[in-house]
Symmetry: C2
Subunit: 137 residues, 2 copies
DNA sequence: GTAATTCCTATTAAATTGATAGGATTAATA
DNA sequence: TATTAATCCTATCAATTTAATAGGAATTAC
């Protein structure tokens, strides 16, 4: 299941994509409109900024803005920042690979091959979807 | 990420599929061979039995066995029993549908459509995979 | 009747997630 | 320069879920 962090993050990004004009969008506005606890949303947008997906402007009239056009922002990147690995087991993760403790040989593991398939299918969706698709192009 | 419950469950099913002969397979044997805490595995196999995937025989020389041939046991069923919904959000779940609290209209939700796509791709993998595939046909 | 097994319920420990709190820092503007 | 309004940062807490353990009841083979 998707964490609320990810869901809130996706909604916020969509909101920003839709309302991009001259000035950055403020956390308070997004929180109110999308019914997200403001302080929680703050921390999520901070994560997105640190990862390079969002930029920010501090102080009065500050807020957040996209660093690239919505059509350039891939779901693979967004999901990895918000949700972490796309794979269902660490041993098939491309970006966060880890050996499973309980597996002497992962090529003999019955779960391994199945999870590679799932990973590839999921990845294909996220690779071919951008923020523009979410915000209704 | 897959829960350990699911991973252990899949490994145990694979083990049973591979060693099916006349007599049922015992929890202790599986636990030892697959390095799974025995009591934890007990509860997992109990779940699988209650769902109808496994059968059991009590008492001395008892144990667990598959209710159908490995090639008849679909991953969709196994995953739903062990891991729960296949969808990443309740509002796109086929078997466990629930409205999202924070969504006034799910057809306008930017996350909804994306998650339907992911669900369908994942589902296609699980639909076309059986325990026979896991246990090396 | 004894030993070996599944079955059942309850409990606990650890990890993760969701949310909150309080203030430091920065920038616009009057 | 003081005020206001925003992001930024760190810490903490509460709730939930996950992983594992404990102890014994019920059942069956021999």
């Amino acid at each position: 299941m998707l964490s609320k962090k990810t869901k809130y993050g996706l909604k916020a990004l969509t909101y920003i994509a839709r309302s991009e004009g001259d000035s950055p969008v403020q956390v308070g506005e997004i929180a109110k409109s999308e019914q997200i606890p403001q302080k929680f949303l703050e921390s999520i947008l901070l994560t997105l900024r640190k990862s390079g997906i969002l930029g920010s402007k501090k102080g009065k009239h500050g807020g957040y803005y996209l660093r690239e056009a919505p059509s350039e922002i891939k779901m693979t990147d967004v999901m990895r920042v918000l949700e972490g690995p796309i794979a269902m087991v660490p041993c098939v993760s491309l970006n966060y690979y880890e050996k499973c403790e309980d597996c002497p040989d992962e090529h003999k593991c019955s779960v391994h091959k199945l999870m590679i398939e799932v990973r590839d299918k999921t990845l294909s969706v996220f690779k071919n979807t951008t923020l523009a698709d979410l915000s209704g192009s």
